[in-house]
């Protein structure tokens, strides 16, 4: 069986060694590590790896883990196609049957 990599951020395939190297280069926050390695910038937006990286930082700096969480969170909080983002419509949505159920209020 081949040796498996020790991946911490699976969306961006960032390994524990890459995280440790970033910390050795002076990164002391989730945001700094994210900017250097892309850890936390993938599809799940750090939902899986942020806590793990915070634990690594906590062990390295001997500081409580909560000091490193939750890192900066920005809109949109989950992946969305740019075309949809640009064309966000007001309140009229289709019902489950596919028919229009709510006319948008005038404003």
């Amino acid at each position: 069986m081949k040796q498996e990599r020790d991946i911490v951020c699976r969306c961006e395939e960032v390994t524990r060694e890459e995280i440790m190297e970033a910390i050795r280069l002076g990164d002391d926050s989730l945001d700094a590590i994210k900017k250097r390695t892309r850890a936390g910038m993938g599809f799940c937006q750090g939902r899986t790896c942020k806590r793990l990286i915070a634990q690594i930082l906590s062990a390295y700096y001997h500081l409580p883990v909560d000091q490193f969480l939750p890192g900066s969170i920005r809109l949109p909080i989950m992946p969305i196609r740019l075309s949809l983002l640009a064309e966000t419509v007001d309140g009229a949505v289709e019902s489950e049957e596919g028919g229009e159920v709510h006319a948008p209020d005038s404003h």
């Binding site: 020790d6 911490v8 939902r47 899986t48 007001d90």
Partner: protein, 359 residues
């Protein structure tokens, strides 16, 4: 723009409880969920709940889910599914998208019931197919009726690890061991008893150190850990298996609360950073309430009642309830929550909750 009295994000037990209570008082309620069906984790819960009758003791999770959906319908709650809420803006508007459109909604009150996500562990081989969270295994088995594998190792002896182990056994899998990093079991004795009677070994002070396999999981290496949870060299053993389930805790999903400006506080016993809130479930933002696992990891029954508290509070602040009726209703729900937070496990959560209220 479409305007609602109350917009609830998340249709698990907390969100359903909130929507039902606000709707019953006459509020115009919108309930949004990213999944294609409501109920959150309830529909994965095939076991009977315990507690008292008012907490649906003896009823299986999915049946509670069905009953809540019916109550929501009777309360006139509008439910939009398959919509991922991606933003909350300073004017209070909420934006949600599916694959074809993104929609903006406006609400007077916003109740966040976004739940929790499962914690992960990182170790060599953790991305091999066959390594998954316990919740994923439960979705495989209980929702899609597919066994994730035949020979399973579970990491974590909390209630999730114990319940999922038992359900995988019931579904015909062989659970080879439960690993627990702590020196004692962390779940309820009633769940632990079931898996022990079924003969599943529980290895205390043990964790997984490596997953191995060519293309998919074939074995895991485990090791004993010291009091700092560090693996002790020389104690490694290899267990052949095709599935490794991680049941190592939950983290409140605070993204929406954070971007909408709610203050966060840390509570270890409640799962991590969570929105600071008072006993009325109001966050630090005046029109945003929180409930359920987002407000601290507990259980489905506490989530439901916290949702009911939040929904009732929103209805009161909308002027739909007089103060006397509100106080009566609040005391009734709070009484149930207090009873759920009794016993050695509940007591710890109750104290942690009080710390949050004081923060």
């Amino acid at each position: 723009m479409k305007h609602y009295d109350v917009i609830v994000v998340g249709a698990g037990p907390a969100g359903l409880g909130a929507a039902i209570e606000a709707g019953r008082q006459g509020a115009k309620v919108l309930l949004l969920d990213e999944n294609d069906r409501p109920g959150g984790q309830l529909f994965k819960q095939i076991h009977k709940f315990f507690g008292s009758r008012e907490h649906y003791a003896g009823t299986r999770g999915f049946a509670i889910g069905r009953q809540l959906l019916q109550e929501a319908e009777e309360a006139g709650v509008e439910i939009h599914l398959g919509r991922r809420v991606w933003g909350i803006f300073p004017d209070g508007s909420v934006t949600a998208a599916n694959d074809t459109e993104s929609v903006r909604y406006q609400g007077s009150y916003l109740i966040l019931a976004t739940g929790a996500s499962e914690n992960a562990l990182a170790f060599p081989g953790c991305t091999l197919p066959g390594v998954m969270t316990a919740g994923a295994a439960q979705t495989f088995a209980n929702v899609h009726h597919v066994l994730p594998g035949q020979n399973i190792v579970m990491v974590g002896s909390g209630n999730v690890g114990l319940i999922v182990t038992y359900q995988l056994l019931q579904a015909g899998a062989n659970v080879k061991a439960i690993l627990e990093a702590a020196p004692k079991l962390s779940g309820y004795a009633v769940h632990a008893g079931k898996v022990r009677r079924a003969g599943v070994p529980v290895l205390l002070s043990h964790t997984v150190t490596r997953a191995m396999g060519d293309g998919s999981l074939e074995a895991v290496e485990i090791a004993q850990v010291d009091e700092h949870f560090a693996p002790i060299p020389g104690t490694e053993q290899v267990i052949p298996c095709d599935t490794l389930c991680l049941a190592v805790g939950l983290t409140p999903r605070v993204e929406l609360a954070d971007v909408s400006g709610c203050d966060l506080v840390w509570s270890g016993p409640l799962g991590g950073k969570l929105p600071r809130h008072n006993r009325h479930m109001e966050s630090s933002r005046s029109n945003i309430l929180v409930a359920g696992d987002l407000a601290g990891i507990e259980e489905a029954s506490t989530a439901l009642d916290e949702g009911r508290l939040a929904g009732t509070r929103a209805a009161y602040r909308l002027g739909l309830l007089d103060v006397g009726t509100y106080e009566g209703r609040r005391a009734e729900i709070q009484g149930r929550l207090d009873r759920l937070r009794q016993g050695p496990f509940g007591e710890k959560r109750r104290r942690a909750k009080e710390e949050v209220w004081k923060a």
